[in-house]
């Protein structure tokens, strides 16, 4: 990345901002699909039960914390790679 000049970095920044939004939406959709899969098992009704609703929130929280932790380790690893 350090090969880019200031103007190129600016141009790249704009491209990445759009990408980041897309990534966020993709992450959110995956989260929804996974938590639905793991938490919703009862189709004798068309409303979420209290238990299912709680499971969904815990599942989402756990997934987000998992992603954050992976992100930290990932960043550390890349920093180490760069400096070596």
């Amino acid at each position: 990345m350090e090969r880019l000049n200031a103007k190129e970095q600016e141009a790249l920044g704009q491209v990445l901002e759009a990408k980041q939004l897309k990534e966020y939406l993709r992450m959110y959709s995956t989260l929804t699909q996974n938590c639905f899969k793991d938490c919703v098992q009862d189709f004798t009704t068309n409303k979420l039960s209290k238990k299912e609703g709680e499971c969904i929130i815990k599942c989402a929280e756990k997934f987000l914390k998992h992603s954050e932790r992976v992100g930290q380790r990932f960043a550390e690893f890349n920093a180490k790679q760069m400096s070596s």
Binding site: Y24, L25, T32, F36, Q41, F43, T44, N46, K47, A60
Partner: protein, 89 residues
């Protein structure tokens, strides 16, 4: 462009508008595909004894779609609250 358009420039094509509408359609189509996949796993017996949906499968699909939307809504609210609590996206 208003020079060529002569007054009907509100009929000019703004590529950004197209791109945004395109992204909206893409997102809808992504959600749709995920619901199809999710509810297939939940409701469709993969033995395929008959080509038609059984009564049980049909009812299950309707409820599954409704519940998927409810989960989507619940998580959308949760993410928003979470974002606000952290002061940002």
């Amino acid at each position: 462009m208003s020079f060529f358009g002569m007054g009907n420039n509100n009929q000019a094509v703004n590529p950004q508008n197209i791109a945004m509408a395109e992204q909206e359609v893409e997102m809808m189509s992504d959600i749709f595909n995920r619901i199809v996949r999710s509810c297939q796993e939940k409701c469709i017996n993969n033995k395929y004894h008959e080509a038609d949906l059984t009564k049980g499968e049909s009812v299950c699909i309707d409820r599954c779609v409704a519940k998927y939307f409810e989960v989507n809504q619940k998580l959308s609210e949760h993410m928003q609250k979470r974002g606000e609590a952290r002061g940002g996206m």
